[in-house]
Symmetry: C2
Subunit: 286 residues, 2 copies
Amino acid sequence: MNVFIIGIGLIGGSFAKDIKRIMPESKIYGIDANDAHLEEAFTLNLIDVKSNYEDLGLADMVIVSIPVDVLVTELPKILDAVNDDCVVFDGGSTKQLICKQLDNHPKRRNYLAAHPIAGTEFSGPSAAIEGLYEGKTNIICEVEKTAFKLQERALELFQKMGMRIRYMNPEAHDKHIAYVSHLSHISSFMLGKTVIEKEKNERDIFDMAGSGFESTVRLAKSSPAMWAPIFEQNKKNVVETLEEYIQNLEEFKQMLLENDFEGIYNEMNNTNKIKEILNGIPLNKK
Amino acid sequence: MNVFIIGIGLIGGSFAKDIKRIMPESKIYGIDANDAHLEEAFTLNLIDVKSNYEDLGLADMVIVSIPVDVLVTELPKILDAVNDDCVVFDGGSTKQLICKQLDNHPKRRNYLAAHPIAGTEFSGPSAAIEGLYEGKTNIICEVEKTAFKLQERALELFQKMGMRIRYMNPEAHDKHIAYVSHLSHISSFMLGKTVIEKEKNERDIFDMAGSGFESTVRLAKSSPAMWAPIFEQNKKNVVETLEEYIQNLEEFKQMLLENDFEGIYNEMNNTNKIKEILNGIPLNKK
């Protein structure tokens, strides 16, 4: 099987590692807008061939792992270039715009809208991890619009990689993911900003910050090139979650100002049930 | 050496484990307001003797690891009960009130105000971890008010446990720690609250949440009994950090509403430098 990976960083590179293990007979072609990344992916043995769009006709499977703003412009071109028996799927963190965009594409049946919920705060080919997707959820949108045989080909890979599949419509995906992923990134970035602004002398942070701060602010290391377009495409939902979050913070502040420490205790106690919810989340191995 | 640990949970229990390794000849006496915890600590072999305040005269060292509201009422009594050659230190996350409270205590020289910055989101004797404090920062306040010989005894232990010592006045401690610890807890608790409120069907969170959300919301598992009093004692600083955090979130929302995605990119890009800052933080081994 000829597998093309377009965008060979953390997400695409981790796919490459699993595919090499699971389907050793497959040949992996890499395409990347960044020449240095493509070269690095080749050197790291993530890909077998440094390729480009002209070869896309050879593909049996194309994995598109690029920022969501570029997805919108590139996916139509990629679909134009592949043959009728090729499945193309993406890994974008927003699904509504791209599904709408491709709705009338003549090769819509070759596309599977996917969002494997996995990653780390790092990026680039060297960030790729074998087994990154094991036990993780992969959300598939509008599955009925993909040719059955091509669905099967992609799902077989996902299954062998150990992913759990969930089907959802693009609107529901974008709404829920705003809460459990996009909002976490904003809260983390703004926490990092607040502390950096205050602590002009970074040694003070360095010396006093513990593992709790590190955990809460981890996502603030994430790539702006990846995240700014996600916030743009999911603006409506993200603004809504952000308003609710700010409202909750305001209420907490109000309780502090009113010395309502019983109320604060109760808030925290109620939120503690996140423990049980999180117990079900398969954590990143890294 | 007779070591008394008052409050034998995550913090006290982890001290017990290290002390048993480093100073095997010492005898560890446990005191806890919760009988079940005391019994558990004994069964887990964290302590050698289940004890009470009446035995405090035997102590060479007393470690007080209890919520900060109880510290304020208990530390004066503990100091009253110990002999002149005993060092008493605490692990409270606020230092200003307790230092002020003890300033005129006749045994002030027996007290060392400490804050070892280490922990997890779990609590109780079973949460104790050997080596929890290794490589972690321990902030000592008003060191000059502790008898020199008693400073030495405590510092020798801290050193053998692998802690890095930083000296700071209580005001500076409480101000900085509000940014790098207390605010992280509020941002995490309110993130958990926002998501739980929205997602009435918890399966939706469970299925879509990834390791990023888990990391950002981890501190929302923390003990309300420990944290409500910390927010109370450090109210002024915490409100200030919270206001700055809310302000930053508001500005981010405003940029979203104004479609200023270049501004959003720049904000995130600037905050990325948290990477270099965090590289210096020794992470929790757990």
